[in-house]
């Protein structure tokens, strides 16, 4: 899953692109996401249409996007928003196959959107039944470095849509553990666990203390003798 995302992050060259990968889920369906954005630096702005995302199959993640280029005035607004350090808010209303509509809100820093030349990633998070629980937006790259961007750089959205499925929770793996125990038991019975290490590698923990003991006890006697001799010499 993560690898897939990295792949997504790396290739964002096409304005409209579909992503496809198989996921092991028992649901499928079509969803339509209507995107609206706000380009004004006010607490409660008006949202204007940005485009539409169709997810043809949430299982395969095949997506098509319809996003008209930004008008000149919108581009000016966006640049101004970015200068002011404002935020770009995106309102998305998701219509599922059964006609149910839910709406979500997400935001990015306007400067990061401008500096990424409108390359954004939309993550559509699903719950275990395949209903959408959130649409969040990020830009790629996601940092503001203060580089100069002209109006022509931010004409069309370069959007990647990524459908995030819920993972299936792990269960205690008793079967594999029991198998492992049985395998080991069998192996022991067949005597296959023959230790093929060398004698030293096998019994070093017994040999080392023995050697140390021998060395120490051996060294103690001559030292005593040598000490006595030394004393005699001194006189």
């Amino acid at each position: 899953m993560v690898r897939v995302l990295c792949f997504v992050l790396l290739c964002f060259h096409y304005a409209v692109r579909t992503l496809s990968f198989q996921v092991d889920v028992d649901y499928d369906g079509l969803i339509k996401i209507k995107l609206q954005h706000a380009l004004d630096h006010v607490p409660n702005p008006d949202f204007h249409d940005r485009g539409t995302v169709f997810v043809y199959s949430i299982r395969s993640g095949s997506v098509s996007l319809e996003q008209p280029p930004l008008s000149v005035s919108d581009r000016e607004k966006l640049l101004k928003l970015s200068e002011k350090g404002g935020i770009y808010r995106l309102h998305s209303s998701v219509q599922s196959a059964d006609g149910k509509e839910t709406s979500f809100l997400t935001f990015v820093k306007a400067c990061s959107l401008v500096e990424s030349h409108l390359s954004d990633i939309l993550s559509v998070s699903l719950d275990h039944t395949g209903s959408v629980i959130g649409v969040s937006m990020m830009t790629s790259p996601g940092v503001c470095e203060g580089q100069l961007v002209t109006k022509d750089d931010i004409r069309v959205f370069n959007t990647t849509v990524f459908v995030k499925h819920m993972e299936q929770g792990p269960v205690p793996d008793t079967a594999a553990y029991i198998q492992k125990l049985e395998r080991e038991k069998e192996a022991r019975e067949r005597g296959e666990t023959k230790d093929n290490r060398s004698f030293l590698a096998k019994y070093w923990m017994y040999i080392v203390p023995l050697v140390i003991f021998l060395v120490l006890s051996g060294a103690a006697n001559p030292e005593g003798a040598a000490g006595g001799g030394g004393g005699g010499g001194g006189r």
Partner: protein
């Protein structure tokens, strides 16, 4: 640290042998490191047992050791010592409505309780030991809908328990007390028109109803065969139709009637032929208890008026006062709420006259005992059985250290010399002169008296192990408890304060710690007003319990939706509290912190989670200005659909520090941890036909609003407990499929490179973490979980798991590490992870409270101490249990049995010997030179 070395050693040495042997050895190693020596019992820990708010009380008049039996709202039956108030025995019944006690009475052999709903259990408890003597339940159709509609009557002589259900008609059903055998029941022929109010005045039942504006008292015997009801109009005495009927506990069938607006109560003695009004009246607010003494019946009137608690004794039939007991006692109204008498008993004293004991319970859930004539004997603070918020704070510095602090604090104002080398030197000389003067004065006994904290020994110790535990309880009473002794240092009662009902919590913020001398520490309690539901705040000094602002709670005038502590302090080192009300308006308390809030507004985010709709919303303070703080909604996700519920939102501890940024793998590369302080774990639960009981866990970044990770479990249900710390989440649930408690751990990693080495930003570069996950089985039922926390986060983390059997298990994180592999590869071995075993061990050596069982644990609070190795733990619930744990063993403290004497003797000896030998050597050299 040491454990991991042992593990490493174990694994590398024995890797070809069976992992079981390895694990067994490992466990032996671990066991050695955990257990407690016998002489250490009670040295670092204490336990306090509580019973809860008293519901019924009965004095023991039968057995030789006199005691008082209580049963409580917490579903506890207990016997308390008359002299000390200590618990003689205690039995904890089932939780919630399964164990609600409806009735308690005593016979000559047992305490009888009727408890629970569907089935209703009748239990007999041994008077002296509290053992269960018998236990039977009513047939399932006996269903307790409300306590008004069901009455109980125990006939001690016949050993029968009567169940009286008051519906449209009154049905009496007797049962054999010990066996539960149902006997012939009957319908009582009461001529009732409207819904009456009835009481049991043994062996009669009395009902009052108003017919045509006139109150009528009906009485009928419960036990007699073919009993006939007798009705008595109360017309000349009481004309008001709104009347209250109460029975007076005691040997005689006596009821009291009072009407609304009247100041007195009328007493009626019930007889076979009807009821007889007694020739005197009593005060309306008095609690009445009958008692028999020297063959005559007496009536005790217990009255609380204006800080005085009175007892008036009179002859029951005539109303003549018995003078030698009629007395009043001063009631400690400053620390206890208004009392109501629960039970009373009088006994003839040795000298002469009467001695009466009165057990009372208060509105703030305390229970106490008065002795008349005499004094208040004991008080138990039963509010501590319902702890809702805990904080542990450092104590203030001692007087001498405070003087030094003062020296450095007032640099600007002292004597014209402000800064620079010379200035500092002068300053130092001056302050040392002052210290010398102080020393001389204190030797002569002329100095300032020591501060109150100093006198009480409440000063910081060198290891920071001595702390003040600040506890907020469900009834709105605050306590300050000394963590070493467990004694209550201060208590403060707040009026009309309730906890947030959804999670039964209040919020306790530490606005300023004790570090900022001379500013005292300050805490704030956020709660709900009992009547209006508005938010209330109370600020106080956590060391003394004195209010910092107003004397009582401050009404905020709005309902609190979310609150948070500001990240930055103001000039007085005080951190403001940011509050979001129901109308999405922002407020900051105190208002002086407004400028601080505005300064950091661009990077301040606040989020809310709605339990009912499942909507999580994030707000930015971007549009705030110096006039007004404004919260603008910037993100919104909706986690639940249909009948799902949002059951838990768990964030990380704000005081947590992560020492190690990554994990060293077998190939010596580093796997960097995904440490996002804004990550919150959200759990939703629901039921659908395909997945049965499902449980979803979402990890949501509450600044950017993105769902970082989500995981779903089928056939999993509550109890769900979550621990969220560092880069991992651990949660437990009950698996419906396997019928056992399972623990799942998730560990989040950024990968082999770290995206931003200085600080994490949720907005700048959102990375998708790599998630490791693993599931384990815990053989036990979990009631609460918490991770240990230490000052710098160097010590390894353990998880404290409170089990339903009353033990608190200390589970090393290593055991639940999601990287434990099934098949051991050399790399994994190098990394130091132990092989996977599905079942987690529960060795009795890792039960940190050894045999000190803690009942019905609500939560565990952990706090760092001044020692990096040591974490302070308070387990709360019905009982309080305090201890300290050292997850990586006490690597920074000398062992208790460290022989200081021996080592100093050896050192001294060596010094002396070296000195002597040097002398001898030089003398020898001199001699040789002369040869």
């Amino acid at each position: 640290m040491k454990i991991s070395e042992e593990l490493n050693g174990c694994i590398s040495r024995m890797w070809l042998r069976s992992p079981i042997v390895c694990l067994a050895l490992l466990l032996i190693h671990l066991n050695l490191s955990y257990g407690l020596y016998e002489d250490q019992i009670g040295k670092f820990d204490w336990r306090q047992m509580y019973v809860g708010h008293v519901k019924f009380a009965e004095f023991d008049t039968v057995s030789s050791v006199k005691k008082v039996f209580v049963s409580t709202e917490e579903n506890v039956v207990a016997a308390l010592n008359l002299k000390s108030g200590n618990i003689i025995w205690r039995q904890v019944l089932e939780k919630k409505e399964q164990g609600t006690i409806h009735f308690m009475n005593i016979t000559s052999e047992a305490v009888i309780t009727v408890s629970g709903t569907n089935p209703v259990n009748v239990r007999g408890w041994d008077l002296n030991g509290g053992f269960l003597l018998w236990d039977w339940s009513f047939p399932l159709h006996v269903f307790i809908s409300s306590e008004e509609e069901n009455k109980w009557f125990l006939s001690d002589t016949e050993l029968k328990l009567y169940h009286i259900s008051l519906g449209s008609e009154i049905i009496v059903k007797p049962y054999e007390l010990t066996s539960g055998r149902a006997l012939e029941g009957s319908k009582l022929p009461l001529p009732l028109a409207s819904k009456p109010s009835c009481v049991v005045a043994a062996p009669y039942i009395a009902c009052i109803e108003s017919v045509g504006g006139n109150p009528i008292l009906h009485t009928v015997s419960i036990t007699a065969v073919n009993s006939k009801p007798v009705s008595k109009p109360l017309k000349p005495l009481i004309e008001n139709t709104e009347v209250t009927l109460e029975s007076v506990h005691g040997s005689q069938p006596l009821v009291s009637v009072t009407s609304s607006g009247s100041k007195v109560k009328y007493l009626f003695l019930i007889e076979e032929t009807g009821s007889r009004v007694l020739p005197y009246q009593v005060e309306r607010s008095a609690k009445l208890v009958q008692d028999s003494l020297r063959e005559s019946n007496i009536l005790l009137q217990l009255l609380y008026t204006n800080e005085w608690f009175d007892v008036l004794t009179s002859n029951l039939l005539t109303g003549e006062p018995i003078p030698d007991v009629t007395s009043s006692l001063k009631y400690p109204h400053d620390r206890l709420g208004p009392p109501t008498a629960a039970a009373a008993v009088c006994t003839p004293r040795k000298d002469k006259g009467l001695g009466c004991r009165v057990l009372f319970s208060t509105t703030d859930h305390a229970v106490g005992m008065f002795h008349y004539p005499g004094k208040l004997i004991w008080v138990r603070e039963e509010a501590l059985a319902s702890v809702v918020a805990v904080e542990m704070l450092d104590l203030p510095v001692s007087d001498t250290e405070a003087a030094i602090e003062k020296e450095f604090d007032h640099k600007e104002m002292d004597l014209g010399v402000s800064s620079g080398f010379g200035g500092m030197f002068t300053h130092r000389l001056l302050s040392q002169t002052l210290q010398l003067r102080l020393l001389i004065l204190s030797i002569l006994g002329l100095g300032d008296p020591p501060s109150a904290g100093q006198r009480a020994g409440l000063v910081r110790d060198e290891f920071g192990l001595h702390k003040m535990i600040v506890i907020a309880t469900g009834v709105g009473k605050l306590f300050g408890i000394d963590n070493l002794s467990g004694e209550i240092v201060w208590r403060r009662r707040l009026e009309n304060v309730a906890s947030y009902s959804s999670q039964n919590q209040m919020i306790l913020y530490v606005q300023r710690t004790t570090r900022h001398f001379p500013h005292p520490a300050q805490c704030a309690l956020l709660a709900r007003h009992k009547v209006s539901g508005e938010g209330v705040i109370f600020t106080f000094n956590p060391i003394t319990g004195q209010p910092a602002g107003s004397e009582s709670v401050t009404l905020l005038g709005y309902q609190i939706q979310q609150s948070m502590l500001l990240a930055f302090t103001d000039d007085n080192f005080l951190r403001g509290i940011l509050l979001l009300d129901q109308k999405e308006q922002l407020h900051v308390l105190p208002s002086s912190a407004h400028s601080v809030a505005v300064k950091s507004a661009g990077s301040t985010f606040i989020f809310t989670a709605d339990k009912n709709t499942g909507i999580l919303a994030g707000y930015s303070l971007l549009f705030s200005n110096s006039q007004k703080l404004e919260a603008t909604r910037v993100w919104e996700v909706k986690l639940t659909q249909g009948k799902q519920r949002l059951t838990a939102v768990v964030s990380k501890s704000p005081v947590e520090r992560v020492h190690s940024q990554g994990r060293v793998l077998g190939d010596r590369s580093v796997l960097y941890k995904y440490i996002n302080p804004n990550l919150v774990a959200v759990v939703t639960q629901g039921f659908d036909p395909v997945h049965k009981n499902f449980l979803n866990l979402y990890l949501v970044d509450v600044v950017s609003g993105s769902v970082v990770f989500s995981i779903s479990h089928k056939k999993a249900r509550e109890p769900v407990h979550i621990v969220h710390s560092e880069n991992w989440v651990l949660y437990s649930y009950f698996s419906d499929k396997s019928r056992r408690t399972e623990i799942v751990t998730l560990e989040l990693y950024e990968g082999k490179v770290q995206s931003n080495t200085t600080a994490f930003s949720s907005v700048a570069s959102p990375i998708q973490p790599i998630v490791d996950q693993q599931a384990y089985i815990l053989p036990g039922n979990i009631v609460a979980m918490k991770e240990t926390i230490t000052e710098k986060g160097i010590t390894s983390k353990h998880i404290l798991v409170a089990l339903a059997n009353g033990g608190v298990l200390e589970l090393p994180w290593m055991f639940v590490d999601p990287r434990r592999p099934i098949t051991v590869t050399p790399e994994m071995r190098e990394e130091g992870v132990i092989p996977y075993m599905p079942e987690l061990p529960v060795p009795s050596e890792s039960i940190i409270n050894y045999n000190q069982t803690v009942q019905r644990v609500q939560g565990i609070h952990t706090a760092p101490s001044g020692l990096e190795s040591t974490c302070l733990v308070l387990v709360y619930g019905l009982d309080l249990y305090y201890t300290r744990v050292a997850p990586s063993k006490t690597f920074d403290v000398l062992k208790e049995d460290f022989d200081h004497f021996l080592i100093s003797a050896v050192l001294l000896g060596l010094t002396v010997v070296s000195y002597i030998t040097r002398k001898l050597a030089s003398r020898k050299a001199l001699k040789q030179a002369w040869k």
